[in-house]
Amino acid sequence: MARTFTPKVVTGNALIEGDVIYQTADDGWTRDLAEAELLTDEAHANLRLLIAEGQPEEIVGAYLADAVASDDGPEPTHFREDFRRTGPSNYFHGKQAELS
């Protein structure tokens, strides 16, 4: 039986700053997961990843990360992605500081 495709976002790190970025529906990049494009179709997701990989001047290490839809946009399903969109737990640094 074919496995079901779970929704994804395209993510990776920005080339210059190194921080976490997400692909948006208008082919741009955002620092905020809530603004990312949630990809629910596997073929479309793979195409979006290819587009990201074709932008080495923007993004390093692009990959598809699991996410789920919520009223506030995509949400992470794994704790690693939750840390990536938030920042470290020992200091108020990273996204939690920059986006607040």
Binding site: L15, H78, F79, F83, N90
Partner: protein
Amino acid sequence: MYNYSEFDAAFVAERNRQFRHQVERRVSGALTEDEFKPLRLMNGLYLQLHAYMLRVAIPYGTLNSRQMRQLALIAEKFDKGYGHFTTRQNIQYNWPTLKDVPDMLDALAEVDMHAIQTSGNTIRNVTADHFAGAAADEVADPRPVAELIRQWSTDHPEFQFLPRKFKVAVTGSENDRAVIKAHDIGLQIVEKDGEIGYCVVVGGGLGRTPMIGKVINDFVSQADLLPYLEAVVSVWNLLGRRDNKYKARIKITVHEHGIDDIRARVEERFNAIKPSFTGVDLVLFNDIKAAFAPPAFRADSAAIYETAYKTDPIFRSWADTNLAAHRAPGYAIVQISLKAHGETPGDATSEQMRVMADLAEAYGHDELRISHEQNVILPHVHKSDLPALHAELKKHGLATANIGLISDIIACPGMDYCALATARSIPVAQQIATRFDELKLEHEVGDLKIKISGCINACGHHHVGHIGILGLDRAGVENYQITLGGNHTADARVGDRTGPGFAYDEIIPAIERIVYAYLDLRTDAEEQFLDTYARVGMEPFKAALYEKAEAYAAE
């Protein structure tokens, strides 16, 4: 202390110039990430979870005040005002941007420092006993030979594309404080018939497959040392499993071939290459040794110290835990704890770095050391200066009296920073320290080393912790395995796994149950955790850990 020669300075400057251009070419699109990655790794630049991370080598953990101040300046100017000291005596900056890194490397070069070979499949920063040159129990200062090895291994043409990374540690004392048996090569300086030489241990390492190193040669003379080391690395360079990165380290090569086979191959290789070593290394070694001549120790009364010790209980508590025996009369080795309860193990702010630099300059013959236990050492302080030094440390959150105690935890960055991590380490360390501080138990518990790694690679040395904690991802949830009875000293031993792991919110109570079980089981306050564990074994601890948890759950 060693100062760069013209050759060293020119080499580092040229590397920095090359790296600046490599960054420019990456940004312009002339280099792909696949092309750029090995170049940045050769210069210590990682891309982590939230940002780039620059790992700066602190050779054999030794710094002077000028270098420490420069590390503080770099933290302030290019990072978020702090640095993280690691289990390999390095410092890591967690938040640099790519465009700033060339300037950071130039700033390091101004004080004879660099980030070369702090990553990649090369010979990494050589580590050493953090009491080097000061310890009462040492045969000889391990830093000169560590510097010799640094020079030999830096940009060594044969060893730039090794099967995997390669780590060397040196101790000058029988009481190993450099964890030499958990390194690819561990060297212990020994004396035989009046001659100084080296006991060479190979094939140690933690990580996925922990191994305690084995003695390959119990006495290598100074004249034979570099050709012997070259022979070891050379034999492994050919035999090492390049087909499988999990089997590539020398510990697996030694395990698969057997130490006798490796010894024979090393001997053969040694005999072949020895004639090419003309003795220039010995001349160089003597120059290096001269640079590490001990400072002029002064002969003063320690009466001020004795008075403070008798009258000030806070000073006494700090002196009891944070001082170690110095070889010069009237002197002490000061260990500055970077483990204030609830803080991140190994982190120091720019301000704290400057305070430590000032204190080293004022009271410590301008020397500082970073320990693999993620603390800072002032190796040479006269006892009469200790009360003033302690008073200054207190003002800056640097006077925590907990060296060797339960809150003096080694913790890797874990999933708060590291891209490889499978769980967090830092908050677990913070909570353990805070909890036992609340219980006011840590002085009663005594010598107890907790070491935490956030993944199987074991940067937090969990295998050799008296209590080791390994954070894993179990079905999308953080889960922590516990090992007991590990030992990082000359009697190195890999700890035993207790059984199933614990969830993030269960791990602190679990550690508490182990500690209470120890307090119940020990014969008296003199019997340390490791001795109790050796005497009673795993079962009573297992019972406390799992049966009591069930009993609590049933209530």
